[in-house]
């Protein structure tokens, strides 16, 4: 099971449709401050139904959807698709949100509930708490987090 591609449109600092092909092995993402690297991490969390996309990094529709600059108007929808491959099988997970707050999940094109996505991922050891994503700043804080939170991670893996 591996990631093949991430597609973003209207999500945070990605107004135009952007396709990021992910290769096997180690992929480094580099660039100056504020240019969108952590936004790509947020996209992964968000498309998987991230409860982890903390209010701190913005999970309301107005934080998620591209909100414009001096040359481009704000957009009305954010759309992220994650293309996964497991042997021969391709799995496409999509999450969209509109300014109204209305949101929609799709699994291989078919509209589903978030729960169905989580159940599917669970079969591939991709857990709900996304313990495989370590966000910027959190590695230094993990050890001093509450024992109950550490239990949460372990339960997720167990």
């Amino acid at each position: 099971m591996h990631i093949k591609k991430l597609e973003l449109q209207g999500f945070k600092s990605f107004p135009d449709r952007t396709k990021i092909i992910i290769h096997p092995g180690i992929t480094a993402v580099i660039g100056p401050n504020g240019t969108g690297k952590s936004n790509i991490v947020d996209a992964f969390l968000w498309v998987l139904g991230g409860q982890r996309l903390k209010a701190l990094r913005g999970d309301r529709s107005e934080d998620i959807i591209f909100n414009g600059n001096s040359q481009k108007a704000p957009m009305s929808m954010a759309d992220v698709s994650l293309f996964l491959q497991d042997d021969r099988e391709e799995i496409i997970i999509n999450h969209r949100v509109f300014r109204s707050g209305e949101s929609d999940y799709r699994l291989n094109g078919k509209s589903v509930r978030l729960k169905d996505i989580q159940d599917t991922l669970w079969k591939y050891s991709i857990g709900e708490k996304e313990y495989f994503v370590i966000e910027q700043g959190s590695i230094g804080l993990f050890l001093t987090s509450k024992p109950i939170e550490k239990r949460g991670l372990l339960e997720e893996a167990a």
Binding site: I3, F14, I26, T27, I30, G36, F66, L154
Partner: protein, 165 residues
């Protein structure tokens, strides 16, 4: 289930000690229930002792030691329950050169089974990568993504392709 959870603690505890002493070239570490009498609800405590140093509360470790210890814990989790991919955002920021190399060696050992995406400002990390993407924002609020390669002469990443849009 309770049995599975207790077994997870045992396995991860053992992995954690193992990975920790690999990354720190010695020392020991482990995890245990905060309240042994209440396994269904108890939190988890982590302890770690870098080589030659006395056991202290984990809060007294240095910034870099905390990062490396946390990474050891996460890799211990992955060893127990492998995850197909792993996304790390600037986890190497507090590591000195020696600790960075040890962390990168471990990541390289794991990349066969686990796909890594790591956001970094560190050149050593870029050198270990099989593939590099660079972000720019020449137009404010709009990210452009480029494929990049390390220029062997300069040792610096250079853009190779326009973004796939």
């Amino acid at each position: 289930s309770k049995i599975q959870f207790l077994r997870a603690i045992q396995e991860v505890d053992k992995n954690f000690d193992d990975v920790f002493s690999t990354l720190f070239k010695g020392g020991k570490a482990g995890i245990k229930l905060t309240d042994e009498s209440n396994p269904l609800e108890s939190g988890i405590d982590i302890f770690a002792q870098p080589p030659g140093k006395k056991v202290q509360t984990i809060a007294l470790l240095s910034g870099g030691e905390k990062s490396l210890t946390s990474l050891a814990f996460f890799f211990a989790l992955f060893r127990y329950k492998p995850t197909p991919f792993c996304i790390l955002d600037e986890v190497d920021a507090a590591l000195d050169d020696v600790n960075l190399s040890r962390f990168l060696d471990l990541m390289r050992l794991m990349k066969e089974k686990t796909q890594f995406i790591i956001v970094t400002h560190n050149f050593k990390t870029m050198e270990v990568a099989d593939y590099i993407y660079g972000t720019t924002m020449s137009e404010p609020s709009k990210t452009q993504v480029y494929s990049m390669k390390i220029d062997k002469k300069k040792g610096l990443p250079e853009k190779t392709e326009l973004p796939d849009t």
